[in-house]
């Protein structure tokens, strides 16, 4: 089990050079079939977005990768290891962490307890002091009930708590949704800093201006499938196509 707790560097892997390799991923909520063969990959150190209209299946894809769907099929390889049959906690221990769309702040826990809930799974996580430097609001309000924070502060808390764990692969589901521009900028700077520190990030975004400011590549999700991939440098050239995809 020890080799499952840390991800191997790319060079040691032979079958693929991707840290995350998703192939033919299908997913269900009960009887309803939502993912119909998602295909994409993420290389180590990359920031990749999933773009798409409401209901396209972005959140479901994130949940399927994390092992949070009751029924899923296909292949999700993390550092070359197949995870499709694993439970969420075993996937988490491979060094991947989620910041869910609904934020998932616990109301029966204080801010500090929320922050300390996810256990350290690997070396190299941020210390509590460093996190409080990055997010001074959280320090000020560390004794408050988690859900008494503002929406923006809750979002910061949801990101901050997974930075402590030492996981270097983050799944961020719409971290800027419904937040004021200053806070969006702060989150943008945080993601930029994480990228520079070598983190690998899958980012779900509606706001593709924001996505463009931090990402290397963009995957377009439509009705449970990945229908296109646009490198960030080619975004301007493809802007009309993207508008059509997103219906904006």
């Amino acid at each position: 089990m020890t080799d499952a707790t840390t991800m191997q560097p790319q060079s040691e892997r032979t079958s693929t050079d991707a840290l995350l390799e998703v192939q033919g991923l299908e997913g269900w909520y009960g009887e309803s079939h939502v993912l119909h063969g998602i295909e994409f990959h993420v290389r180590e150190g990359e920031v990749v977005t999933l773009l798409g209209r409401n209901g396209a299946g972005k959140t479901t894809t994130i949940k399927a990768i994390m092992g949070l769907l009751d029924k899923r099929r296909g292949s999700v390889k993390l550092a070359g290891k197949e995870t499709i049959a694993l439970q969420a906690r075993h996937i988490a221990r491979m060094g991947i962490a989620i910041c869910p769309e609904e934020r998932g702040i616990f109301s029966s826990l204080s801010v500090e307890e929320n922050l300390h809930l996810p256990p350290k799974l690997a070396e190299g996580g941020l210390s509590t002091e460093r996190i409080f430097e990055l997010f001074p609001n959280l320090k000020e309000r560390r004794r408050s009930q988690g859900t008494k924070l503002s929406g923006g502060e809750q979002q910061m808390l949801a990101i901050a708590r997974i930075l402590r764990t030492g996981s270097k692969f983050l799944l961020l589901d719409e971290p800027t949704e419904g937040l004021a521009p200053v806070i969006v900028q702060q989150i943008g700077r945080t993601i930029q800093a994480l990228k520079e520190a070598g983190f690998t990030i899958v980012l779900v975004e509606q706001n593709f201006r924001f996505a463009a400011s931090v990402a290397d590549r963009h995957y377009v999700v439509e009705q449970g499938r990945v229908v296109d991939m646009i490198p960030n440098h080619a975004l301007d050239a493809n802007i009309d196509k993207l508008h059509a995809y997103l219906g904006v």
């Binding site: 969420a88 221990r93 826990l109 997974i162």
Partner: protein, 295 residues
């Protein structure tokens, strides 16, 4: 000495003491139910049988192995809690995806089986369990006589209840428990082993019931039906307090014991039903219970 409405203070204090003792059992038992319900979402109908097993295990430890009261206070909850863990792993854990009702039915069935087995082997006449020597006798408080063992029951219950409350509400371990109660999927997605937490929590809740059973052994006779009678009242206490609230279970348990005792003084005919009357009123006015969440 004062007299209240013509009631001699000895009578009043005596009934208050009985009320507080009953309240101690209500509190420890409803606390266990609340802990289990919070995380497992099942109503543990076997709780009364597990309380009875606590009393029986301490009786067996004494009569078969010569192990006395004080070690039994620790050993019996461990033994009965371990049996609970086996039940959770082999049976109860299969029902988590289904409605509450299935867990209730399963544990109700288990309770009947356990009680039936004990009735078969030990009869219903009850087995004596002596008060430990250190706690025999009593104190004359001037206005009343306080048997030492009864004082001990109250003290031990208060310590266990508030210790449990502290562990759940104030410690890191408790924060895992609270979080898993709210959103077990997300807690699992952080790499925490939620199924193991659930199993241990069930074992702990069952251990609390068994602890109450050990406390009860020297007061009530050790009897296969001792839990079946008590658990109905405890369920009413839980409904009044609100399922899932730790402090609610504790305060309601002690409070209702006292109210029951006072009713016995001022309106004895009502003492057997007062808790159920309160339950009916609470259900009409605040169905989620006095300390329950509306959610």
């Amino acid at each position: 000495m004062f007299e209240l409405l013509g009631i001699p203070p000895q009578v009043l204090m005596g009934q208050l003491l009985i009320g507080l003792i009953n309240g101690s059992f209500y509190a420890v038992l409803s606390l266990g139910l609340a802990v289990i319900f919070g995380l497992l979402n099942i109503i543990n109908f076997a709780h009364g049988a597990q309380y009875m097993m606590g009393a029986f295990v301490s009786w067996m430890l004494l009569n078969y192995l010569g192990i006395g009261y004080w070690p039994a206070l620790i050993l019996a909850p461990l033994v009965v809690g371990a049996i609970g863990i086996v039940l959770e792993r082999t049976m109860i854990s299969r029902l988590y995806k289904l409605d509450h009702l299935y867990g209730l039915l399963l544990t109700f069935g288990l309770a009947l089986i356990i009680q039936g087995l004990f009735r078969n082997y030990y009869g219903v006449s009850g087995l004596p369990y002596a008060i430990p020597p250190a706690l025999q006798g009593g104190q004359n408080l001037g206005f009343m006589f306080l048997p030492n063992y009864r004082g001990w029951v109250i003290v031990a219950s208060v310590i266990v209840c508030f210790g449990t409350w502290f562990m759940i509400e104030k410690t890191r371990l408790g924060s895992y428990l609270r979080a898993a109660t709210e959103n077990p999927e997300l807690v699992g997605a952080f790499g925490i082993n939620v199924p193991r937490m659930i199993t241990l929590t069930y074992g702990f809740g069952v251990g609390l019931a068994a602890f109450a059973g050990v406390l009860a052994a020297p007061i009530y006779s050790v009897n296969p039906n001792m839990g079946a009678d008590l658990i109905i009242v405890v369920f009413a206490v839980v409904v009044i307090g609100g399922m899932g609230s730790i402090m609610g279970a504790i305060l309601t348990g002690f409070g209702l014991g006292i109210i029951e005792g006072l009713t016995r003084v001022f309106y004895p005919e009502g003492s057997a039903v007062v808790i159920f009357v309160i339950m009916a009123i609470v259900l009409m006015i605040k169905p989620e219970g006095l300390f329950g969440n509306t959610a």
